[in-house]
């Protein structure tokens, strides 16, 4: 039979963490900081300018890893949404919302770095290039999802609606990508493409950059997930408290 109150004897032997950090994330964090420093030095100082792109390649060291990784949290959000519909647990809900948040950061950065790269190589920030346009629409899709999640509503209703919109993220992104690519292929100049093979110390610099961004993605995802989980728990706590108060109001004797 469970007691209604907790006593000091029930307190867990291990102290609960006071933040979303843990040993693994701290190690990751240090690796990221060190790796970033090395990567920045390599990318900005010691590596050579590209034969064709000249120094625009230095933006590639940031842009390519970001766009190569940005689909992972998007897909994760859709998958988590499907799993939530089947299992209805907070964990999947937290995974869906946190992945979308991380995805928005990566997609947004991909857009900005892509536009800046275009500014250097093509002379303008925006050319309605297929990749850039699809990414912009993906960003808007994500913003819509995030706006939905922030909406004040019953947690269960919000989770349900978010799940459906989340599942649709991947099909929408695919449809957008396909239609925009087809559209732009009808107009594409041959000169738009760039020889993107990397030689010499460019390759090693890129490898460092890619590695660091993978670590960044993992670190952000872990923290975001734990945050989302805590937020759901806090909401539930508020709800229980409100219900308990209401019951206490209705029954002056205190319940039992």
């Amino acid at each position: 039979m469970t007691t209604l109150t907790t006593s000091a004897n029930d307190a867990p032997a291990v102290d609960a963490p006071t933040s979303t950090g843990s040993r693994s994330t701290r190690i990751l964090g240090i690796l990221i900081l060190v790796g970033s420093a090395i990567g920045a030095y390599l990318g900005l100082v010691t590596s050579d300018a590209d034969r064709i792109q000249k120094d625009a390649v230095r933006l590639f060291y940031v842009h390519v890893p970001v766009v190569s990784l940005m689909y992972i949290p998007v897909i994760l959000c859709s998958v988590a949404s499907i799993m939530w519909l089947r299992k209805r647990t907070d964990g999947w809900d937290a995974l869906a919302s946190s992945s979308a948040e991380v995805a928005a950061v990566f997609v947004g950065l991909g857009l900005v770095t892509g536009a800046l790269w275009g500014e250097i190589t093509w002379g303008t920030y925006w050319t309605w290039d297929a990749r850039l346009t699809s990414t912009a629409l993906l960003f808007l899709l994500l913003l819509g999802y995030l706006a939905l999640r922030r909406y004040p509503a019953e947690p269960a209703a919000r989770a349900r609606v978010s799940a459906v919109v989340g599942i649709l993220l991947v099909p929408n992104a695919i449809l957008v990508h396909y239609s925009v690519s087809w559209w732009r292929s009808l107009h594409q100049d041959a000169t738009r493409g760039f020889d993107t093979t990397m030689d010499g110390n460019q390759l090693s610099t890129y490898a460092v950059a890619q590695g660091v961004f993978v670590l960044i993605l993992v670190w952000l995802s872990i923290h975001a997930y734990r945050n989302a989980w805590l937020a759901l728990r806090a909401e539930r706590g508020d709800l229980d408290l409100a219900i308990a108060r209401r019951m206490a109001d209705d029954d002056p004797t205190g319940g039992i």
Partner: protein, 48 residues
């Protein structure tokens, strides 16, 4: 050496925005995490 190449401004800006965005988001996450951890009971905070 840093200033010797073309389009320095744009490139530095690009790196800068990346650092700012990721760093800023990371900071926001950590702060939000600390705040939420204070509110949520210990049984629900199980990671180390």
């Amino acid at each position: 050496m840093l200033l010797a190449y073309t389009d320095v401004g744009t490139i530095v800006f690009g790196w800068g925005i990346t650092v700012a965005a990721i760093g800023g988001y990371a900071l926001a996450l950590v702060r939000r995490g600390k705040r939420l951890s204070r509110v949520v009971p210990p049984e629900d905070r199980r990671w180390s």
